[in-house]
Symmetry: C2
Subunit: 372 residues, 2 copies
């Protein structure tokens, strides 16, 4: 194998591919980056069995072939190369690969390309297309609410609920629930599916897609896999098996009281008040809603107390209700509207936070018992 | 105690003071920040016994007094306060301190101020004054060469060698030596002293002093302590006891060969070549000096090989000599001249690197045995 490509193209691909290399690969070959050179296209593959990534870039291919290089070293070498062009040639007798760029020359030992589990493209008639900025929004506003521990796998993923023109993403760790909907323009009316996608791949995807120019993401899914294709990138992931709770049942149908609050004022007040409670396991802060005032407070017998007052407009009865501060802060981070509504029934029943101006996003959080 | 001060002043002071709070304080009171309010001046003190810091700021003091607050919490609270002004008042009966700023109010439990080991100012006639930018340069070009493990304490400090108008800072870990001199303008001719200052306090000091406007740093020293005063800051540190090796004996008196090399070309070539050797304990790279060419190479049986050629001008005999790449990179980072000279005698005797244009800075590094 022998080809010349630009450093920019190769580096960009490798930085995407590296996301499918586990820090503790199940088998040595999975620490490798597989390169297939044919018809002036390089196909670069990585996989950890849970996900697989293929990036394609153009190259001036003088001799076709395949090789696998140690991923971490290959990435570091490419990153530091001094020239704009890179020449890569394999020497199959010595099992080495020569990488040249400007004044620099590397000889890396190659891995056995026959051992690399090449990625099978997912084939299915189940497919939708979604704009990258819409997908990012769905992910950002829900995936933070997932559970991080693996005790119950379904809670480490986001439910991707396709219901004709309506796409819903939902995530919960059983103490809180985030639900974001999108209405699709093109109105395909015959799609229904409920897929649980690992939060990790969604978070990686939202990072990779983050760019000023929205692109189309083509999604294909089967009963146990889902793939995302955009530009020169193909990502396939396993789905999480299991039954996701019916999120519509978790959202209270109505609230007796509701407060209108400035998003950033609430966020910075909780930031401060939670300083005192953060060393406690549940990071409990108490919210005292009154007609025009919200008193936030926390108490830590070993440190002291904090309180803060902010202006609000309450519609309903005054209430005192306690929460894990982390759960509210996590959510406010992703709100980009000026105001939110905080709605509740009793001090023990689930409350909700909604961004004023985004009726398709709802967050439900369960109160905790008040600190003494 | 009761006073009002600006958030900016207090925060700036606390961020300096926090450097004397150990992450594992020897006694609980040492995790505290001591504040003394008198005559419209706040004196803010912290210490870990090794070093002590006093910052002074102005305040509108309504009631004089002293208090000690838990350092980490106090710092975090001040950092997040919403207003430009802060009011702090102690309630001695309840052992609490109220901190108010705009909408926020904190009640922190105070610590017993009588237990705080107040810092004694160092008094001595041994003193010099030095511009902050000169002191930073002395520190930056030497302290990186110290040993980090505490096996032999003298090597965890920099020698501060005062010899009339000449100030020298030297540091070594026995495998390398960095020596930076400064000639002082004001020509005090009757000062000689050799002090070993802990590298940690010097590094903290160079960070604190880093500002666009140079300031005067007044240094006072005794046989076992040294203090630095500048602006509103006073820092006192223990000195390290022991005998620092005679650095003049370590610097070879002459070299048989010397190469002129572009600093940044050498730095980025070593950066790349060292990628292959970094997983080895000694990170060995080999430098082959020839008349107009330097071939840098490394070899790692498990990964592969790297080599790179750069243009140089060699004055003397060609040589092949091996080094720990880390030791050369550490030093090149602090060189801001375009060229360096790399000088050597044999492949087993110490070599030197000097910045062309700075005759008062020399770095000596011992070669390692070549990789097979």
């Amino acid at each position: 194998m022998n080809f010349i490509c630009t450093k920019n193209d190769l580096l960009q691909a490798i930085q995407i591919n590296i996301k499918a290399i586990s820090s503790k690969p199940q088998m040595p070959i999975l620490s490798g980056i597989y390169i297939h050179a044919k018809n002036d296209i390089l196909k670069i593959e990585t996989t950890d069995y849970d996900i697989g990534i293929i990036c394609k870039i153009t190259a001036d291919i003088k001799e076709e072939g395949t090789l696998v290089l140690p991923g971490k070293y290959f990435a570091d070498v490419i990153k530091t190369l001094p020239g704009e062009e890179i020449e890569i040639a394999s020497n199959s007798e010595q099992n080495t690969v020569t990488i040249k760029s400007n004044t620099a020359k590397f000889n890396l030992l190659s891995m056995a390309s026959s051992e690399f589990p090449k990625i099978k493209k997912l084939e299915s008639n189940n497919n939708i297309s979604i704009k990258s900025n819409v997908l990012i929004d769905l992910i950002k506003k829900t995936s933070f609410a997932c559970a991080t521990e693996m005790m119950r796998p379904v809670f480490t993923g986001c439910l991707f609920d396709l219901n004709n023109a309506e796409i819903t993403m939902a995530a919960t760790n059983t103490h809180r629930l985030a639900v974001k909907k999108e209405i699709m323009d093109d109105n395909k009316t015959n799609i229904t599916a409920k897929l649980i996608i690992p939060a990790k791949i969604l978070n990686d995807l939202s990072t990779l897609l983050a760019s000023d120019i929205p692109t189309d993401v083509d999604i294909i899914y089967s009963h146990n896999q889902i793939s995302f294709s955009y530009d020169n990138v193909y990502i396939v992931s396993r789905l999480i098996e299991g039954q996701f709770p019916d999120y519509n049942n978790v959202i209270p149908p109505s609230f007796s009281s509701s407060a209108l609050i400035k998003t950033r004022e609430l966020q910075s007040a909780i930031d401060r008040v939670a300083l005192i409670s953060r060393s406690n396991q549940y990071n409990i802060i108490t919210l005292n809603f009154d007609t025009n005032n919200l008193l936030l407070s926390s108490n830590n017998p070993e440190i002291g107390k904090a309180e803060e007052n902010i202006n609000i407009k309450l519609n309903g009865q005054p209430i005192s209700i306690a929460f894990n501060a982390r759960y509210i802060l996590d959510m406010l981070k992703y709100i980009n509207t000026e105001d939110i509504t905080f709605s509740f029934n009793t001090e023990t029943s689930p409350a909700s936070i909604k961004a004023v101006g985004d009726d398709l996003f709802i967050y439900v959080v369960t109160p905790v018992r008040k600190a003494i």
